[in-house]
Symmetry: C2
Subunit: 725 residues, 2 copies
């Protein structure tokens, strides 16, 4: 027992008691608790009734389509991971990277894929159950859909904490590595997670939007049949798409964001606290871990707060969801102070304020997103009004709206950046010793603000991920010909999901920018460690930095272009197939014959898997190539350029797409002529253009900008040795 | 006589003979020669016949509309210049800027406006004459239209050289200022020119695209009448728009580009040659002046090379135009070597290569533009094919095409940047003395490559500016009901103009990026001069630089959004007005009654003048505000961010817009179903969306990025004194 207690105390190399092992163990237990919650909630969910035979049949088709897609996707991505494992293995044998890197890379990818896989399993198991529950009441529908969302949310954060704490324990206790090398190796599983996430987001994003665009263009626009009509040959593919893109893709994506923010903070924390003689630098690693663990526990409690009375209004439902997320945010805002104080000392309140700034900035960006994309505010209402003069004016206004909407998030992130840096880095006195201003500490503050922003992920993801489940439930209700009220209820849930998803996107984009900056700082630290004699000239007037900046800034443009054009091509093939079926299989439109759903699913699967490879591989190869030509300074320029334009494009695309979507819904609610009017037709085209913007290219950029940094970090030694400049 | 000769020799302060006065005088005489060419060509042009009474009447309406617009525009811009004059005057009384700045600012604006005004006058005088000449043959149509274009081209370069050489002579001989202060003051007239250009581009761009979009949406899409049909109430406004936007706007714009590239090279040259004891730094100022003068003389000769046989093919016409521009490019490529060698010494061949790189990069960017936007290549043909599946797929593909098309220009500019910098800056031995690598010299090289790129402007602008004249001629032919063949000929001229305009855009965008970078370097030099004790930390990892980068990168997005939304709003008002006229004035559509053209012109005028103020004023205020908050380091970050994303957005918008335009024309030529097919309808919408992209927001960004730098330079002392960080 005494031995265990002293193990928990974990005396650091400097002789200080760090409690590192205790905290790592606590984090591990938190991860286990989250996964237990997942198992218990899933079992409860699976005991619910799936409804009529027709509903079961439809749900089964969706499940099979989604499963088949993921199966094939994992095989292709598996090949990529195999090649990377061999490459990293050779580099580690040659001594350019440490021996854990290849294994860490693979586990990151594995857990990221697992997050998506579990989310997809539970979502496809819950769609019919949600539709069935909506036959009873809106409230019970919400409960089922939200349970599915919370399983997804806690899977992501649970697996994230599990991966991090396990590696920490293995490397620290098993291999007794110094803390610098532990955080260095951790970056690699971030790279694995990012690579997997990029494949999942891009592939899933292309699938879902190709199916959606294809189904809408022929079904709604040409044949004039409603959304999710069983006569549309692409309707099953459309619903499969929601699961592989919005669920599996998002799961892998947010797993990556979560893990990256924690490990980049850990890496910068070590650099920052190495300058402070009185604080063991292990403790700087524990702060983000503890913040994350507190967020997970608060999220579990938070999910129990989300319950409403029967027969409640839409507004009350939103209130219930908000209550849950606000609870978690407040818990973190309060608990972060003792965490920072106990771990590092009360002088470091600047770092606490950085966490708080991150939390607030996330909320503010979410509000901006809501302002620009919700039809209760002027921008989207004005956008809807431009569709009265035709498609062209609506597209022009939407593009303008998206571009304009970048302004506030940029100011918020800038404020958070400057505030975190200067509050955290400021000079202070610790244990009688005066420390001058330190930019390492400032950068650690920036990284911690990203952790703060994402610490609520367990619950925000739950409120986000339930959207696609409700969407699918609506599809099933429509296809199974359930009563009108059921569809109305699922629509209410779906539209609620759109609002909470806006907030979720704010967190995802904001944290991506901050994490990417933290990773650039980690890159610079890494270079200083492996090549201490290299003089860096990171001045923006250095032409290699400038050239890097130009090329990096161009990468998100090229990447978006590749994914958008992929969606366009895949959607075109769906359009042609649906037209062919309408033409060749007589009796589809009068309902006497069933269309051939499987061909559309298969077309989407093949197209999206083929199309995902080029953008994803580009993202891995570009930083290595730029590094080899322009050298370290050029890489830093490239990363900064990609982060800046990546952030702008991500916001632009997400908001333009969201506004087009909601402008269409606004008109469908009866405004400006309502459904079937010319304004509505224009708005449908706008919505279709926005689909790949907001659900394929936009979210994938968030991953891209971090993956570029992580690839650069992993290949730092190679680049520093062989570069031209 | 001897006194005059010794005056020409101009012994510099270091005792060297610089021939500075001789070269300034020669430049002045070149400017006079260009303006003489303008006067003679105009007189010859005006002696030509305007054709039928109907043609004269239409041409007169266009002239009156355009004149009235410019009149009102100049009054508003005059107000802005008045306020700025007072502001700059007060700052100069307080000692923050030198006493010439307010006057230089006003002359820059005046000459920029004059360039646009002369161009517009000659264009509106030539449209009917071109149409009439086309009744004879394609060749004589080309001659008239090209004469008008060459008047415009030589006005811009003539006035540019006049302004620069006059100020040089006044400040050097009249006030005997040292060369550093001369180049400093010159930047200010660049700022004046840029401000004027921004107003002209934005206002004119909104006018022309509002009229175009409005006319197309109701005329072509709703009423099904062809382009330029006299029954369309917006058709005169549309033709007025071509003149105020594509002619007056472009004239002011390119005047600004031309002057900015020369003065930024001059400013950096002084800094670079101050480090070389054996070379008088005045000589570094003379190099860009001489290059420009050679370009002007070559352009005058080049215009005489552009003549074809009667009854020649489209291809032969393009060949004739190419012959002219290639001649000028070769002259400069050859003559730049002796210029650099005689002015600075044969050791400086790196600077010669920089000029050459700029020239080549301009041509290459032009070729990329052509590849991505001409319907003889795959990208635009594929874009056209996506319109078969509807508007949405065509818009998605066009946006993707535009984004993808940024990749090659970025690589070309990066190559030019890196190449010019390292070739020019490399260590060398002058007069037995070894000079180490100098980044000042490298930056001077970058600036010279922009000068090289723009030195052919006299003739490239001529081949560019004749396009709108041909476009107008086509409009007049249609409205006056001339024979079918005339319209076919004007269309051939117009489409030829589109191809040459693509090359012109390449030069404009490429030179804007290089000039902007040179101006950022000038800003840093300026700060070092006025606050030698300020330590700059321009590292990209400095959070104020990063924040500046974020905000700067956002500016082109916000700016584009403002202009696009302005076009959307103005176009909507035109749509509503045209619809009203069709509804209320019975007999318009059967041709029995004439529509009310003047109201549409008036609506466009009011809307565009109102809408141009916010974006233009934003561009002036933003750098001052950012400077006051973030300080000098933040300003440099902002300028770099704006240049990088500005370049990307400019290319993206120009190419997406160009490709949509040509995809539509490709379908109209009979492909994919031809005119009236569903594919054509989709392509018309794409073209309409592309209009504000390529003709309003895109080109204005080129001005924006330079104006931001020049405002920063002029307000440098204020910012350095009062900034927060």
């Amino acid at each position: 027992m005494n031995q265990f207690l002293s193990w928990l105390k974990d005396i650091g190399p400097s002789g200080h008691v760090t409690y590192g092992n205790a905290i790592a163990l606590a984090t591990l237990l938190t991860a286990v608790a989250a996964l237990l919650y997942v198992i218990l909630t899933s079992r409860k969910l699976l005991r619910r009734d799936e409804g009529t035979d027709e509903m079961k049949r439809i749900s089964r088709s969706i499940r099979i389509g989604a499963g088949a897609y993921l199966n094939r996707q994992y095989r292709i991505v598996g090949g990529f991971f195999g090649i990377m494992f061999l490459l990293l293995g050779s580099l580690s044998l040659l001594g350019y990277i440490n021996r854990f890197v290849p294994f860490a890379f693979v586990t990151g990818g594995f857990f990221s894929a697992l997050s998506g896989f579990v989310g997809m399993k539970i979502a496809t198991a819950s769609n019919a159950r949600t539709a069935h529950a909506c036959r009873t009441s809106l409230n019970s529908g919400l409960r089922v859909a939200f349970s599915a969302g919370s399983v997804m949310g806690l899977t992501v954060v649970g697996l994230g904490l599990l991966d991090i704490s396990l590696w920490y324990i293995i490397l620290k206790l098993g291999f007794r590595l110094p803390i610098e090398e532990i955080t260095g190796a951790m970056i690699t599983f971030g790279m694995g997670a990012s690579s997997m996430a990029l494949f999942a987001r891009v592939g899933g994003g292309i699938f879902t939007k190709a199916a959606d665009v294809g189904a809408d263009l022929v079904g709604k626009v040409e044949a004039g049949i409603p959304e999710d009509d069983p006569r549309n040959p692409a309707c099953i593919a459309d619903n499969v798409g929601d699961n592989v893109g919005d669920v599996a893709g998002m799961g892998a994506d947010l797993y990556e964001s979560y893990v990256s923010s924690i490990i980049s903070a850990a890496a910068l924390g070590v650099a920052a606290m190495n300058e402070v003689p009185t604080v063991d630098s292990t403790r700087a690693v524990l702060v983000p871990l503890l913040l994350a663990a507190i967020g997970v526990i608060a999220s579990i409690f938070g999910t129990f707060l989300i319950r409403t009375k029967e027969n409640t209004s839409q507004k009350a439902l939103l209130g219930a969801l908000r209550r849950g997320t606000n609870f978690v945010a407040v818990v973190i805002a309060v608990m972060a102070y003792p965490v920072v104080r106990l771990a590092l000392g009360k002088e470091f309140w600047g770092l606490y304020l950085a966490v708080l700034l991150g939390l607030v900035a996330g909320v503010l960006i979410g509000l901006c997103t809501e302002y620009f994309t919700s039809d209760t505010y002027k921008p989207t209402q004005h956008l809807a009004s431009t569709s009265v003069t035709g498609t062209a004016t609506e597209i022009i206004d939407g593009l303008g709206l998206g571009m304009l909407s970048t302004s506030l998030p940029i100011l918020i992130v800038s404020g958070c950046l400057i505030g975190s840096f200067f509050l955290s880095g400021r000079g202070l006195t610790v244990g009688g010793e005066a420390l001058t201003f330190s930019s390492s500490r400032g950068l650690y503050g920036i990284a911690l603000s990203a952790v703060g922003m994402l610490s609520t992920l367990g619950i925000t993801l739950a409120t986000d991920a339930y959207g696609p489940v409700a969407d699918n439930a609506g599809g099933i209700a429509q296809m199974a010909g359930l009563e009108e009220t059921v569809r109305r209820r699922t629509d209410a849930l779906d539209s609620l999901g759109n609002t909470t998803a806006a907030t979720g996107k704010g967190f995802a984009i904001g944290s991506a920018a901050l994490t990417a900056l933290a990773l650039i700082a980690s890159y610079v630290e890494r270079i200083k460690t492996i090549k201490p004699d290299l003089t860096l000239d990171l001045s923006i007037m250095n032409p290699t930095v400038l050239t890097g900046l130009f090329i990096g800034a161009c990468l998100p443009f090229v990447f978006s272009a590749l994914t958008m054009k992929a969606v366009g091509r895949a959607a075109q093939s769906i359009v042609l197939e649906v037209r062919r079926q309408f033409r060749e299989i007589t009796g589809i439109l009068d309902g006497s014959k069933e269309p051939d759903y499987a061909t559309c699913v298969d077309l989407c699967t093949k197209a999206s898997l083929k199309e995902m490879i080029l953008p994803a591989v580009t993202a891995v190869i570009a930083p290595i190539l730029v590094g080899l030509v322009l050298g370290v300074n050029g890489v830093v320029g490239m990363l900064a350029g990609a982060t800046v334009t990546g952030f702008l494009l991500a916001v632009y695309m997400a908001n333009a797409g969201g506004a087009w979507d909601n402008a269409k819904k606004y008109i469908e609610s009866g405004e400006l002529g309502g459904k079937g009017s010319n304004a509505h037709k224009a708005a449908v085209v706008g919505d279709t253009v926005g689909d790949p913007f907001k659900d394929t290219a936009g979210p994938a950029i968030n991953i891209l900008i971090k993956l570029l940094s992580m690839v650069s970090i992993v290949f730092a030694a190679v680049v520093a040795t062989f570069s031209l400049f």
